[in-house]
């Protein structure tokens, strides 16, 4: 299945801003993070089509996944 992955802030460094990528059925958000070598502990917000999602969410065809790092400084 094809997923659009959007990355933000330092997640883009040495990766990409947005890419359409192919994954096997049953792939979770955590699987995508692992494949992209993103530490799940550094992920702040996760959106699927603009709605918050959890790491164990199983992705579907044509999902648009957005991953944001924790930006907790002030």
């Amino acid at each position: 299945m094809w997923i659009t992955v959007r990355l933000f802030a330092n997640f883009r460094e040495n990766r990409f801003k947005e890419a359409r990528r192919q994954y096997p059925p049953g792939t979770t958000i955590a699987d995508v993070a692992t494949e992209l070598e993103i530490d799940p502990g550094l992920i702040g917000m996760i959106f699927i089509h603009g709605r918050a999602a959890e790491l164990d969410r199983v992705l579907g065809e044509d999902d648009v996944l957005a991953l944001f790092p924790l930006l907790g400084g002030g």
């Binding site: 918050a52 924790l70 930006l71 400084g73 002030g74």
Partner: protein, 255 residues
């Protein structure tokens, strides 16, 4: 009625279409609570004071340190060691003596947060930790107060405006903070003191947060409701990402 001095001080607002005298009167009457008088808080406090926001509540229990001064421009070298709310109040008095400052040199907790948030019209959050960010966001929602909230790290920042107790033009309820982050992070988030921050990044995000507050008070334009602004200073990119209400969010009592 504005005094002669006020007419001159605020003339560029009074001249400005969609703000004008009525908008300036709204600014003069507004009460804004600034949570955090650090990096993000610095431009927020300075621009809201310069704009003539009538009352600024400042919450911060920290003291000014030398390592703050690379980005926390509301404080000066002479203020090192002072409470940040005292230091910031001095700066506000120098910018605009018409502004009333209410300093709160406390750490927000479940006991004190509601009374404080409830006594202001708008809350702007520039704290440096997620537990306080969640506490402020949940309380602002309960107290039905608009919240402008920003975060920064390294070369990056985020900003959004929350009015989850209102509906959008289509009658749909606006999203809350918990629609962005359903729960607090399991792990402690990296901080600026651990990984650093380009000083001017907080100036960009704090200034944008001040713009949102000024827009909310005057009713000008479209606030960042249901939209998350992501700022990438490293590559100089600005992205606006739409997000939506999650009806199963814990804050709505169904999570």
């Amino acid at each position: 009625m504005f005094s002669k001095q006020e007419l001159e001080r605020y003339s560029r607002h009074i001249l400005l279409r969609d703000v004008g005298g009525p908008g300036q009167h709204k600014l003069n009457a507004a009460r804004v609570l600034c949570v955090g008088a650090g990096g993000l808080g610095s431009p927020v406090i300075e621009y809201l004071a310069a704009a003539g926001v009538g009352t600024l509540g400042l919450v911060d229990d920290d003291r000014v340190s030398l390592s703050n001064l690379q980005r926390q421009v509301v404080h000066s070298t002479a203020n090192v060691g002072e409470l940040k709310v005292v230091s910031a109040a001095e700066r506000v008095a120098a910018i605009n003596p018409n502004v009333k400052i209410e300093p709160h040199p406390i750490r927000l907790d479940a006991e004190n947060v509601t009374g404080l948030v409830d006594s202001y019209d708008i809350v702007v959050d520039g704290t440096d930790n997620f537990p306080t960010r969640f506490l402020v966001a949940d309380t602002a929602y309960t107290c039905r107060k608009p919240l402008v909230t920003a975060g920064v790290l390294e070369f990056y920042g985020s900003l959004t405006t929350l009015l989850p107790f209102e509906t959008d033009a289509g009658g749909q309820p606006n999203p809350s903070w918990r629609c962005l982050m359903p729960r607090e992070p399991d792990t402690a988030a990296l901080t600026c003191s651990e990984v650093g921050i380009l000083g001017a990044v907080v100036g960009v995000l704090g200034t944008l947060a001040a713009c949102e507050v000024l827009k909310l008070i005057t009713g000008v334009g479209e606030p960042l409701i249901g939209r998350l602004l992501m700022v990438d200073i490293r590559d100089m990119g600005f992205d606006v990402v739409a997000y939506y209400r999650n009806p199963t969010s814990p804050v709505f009592g169904q999570g």
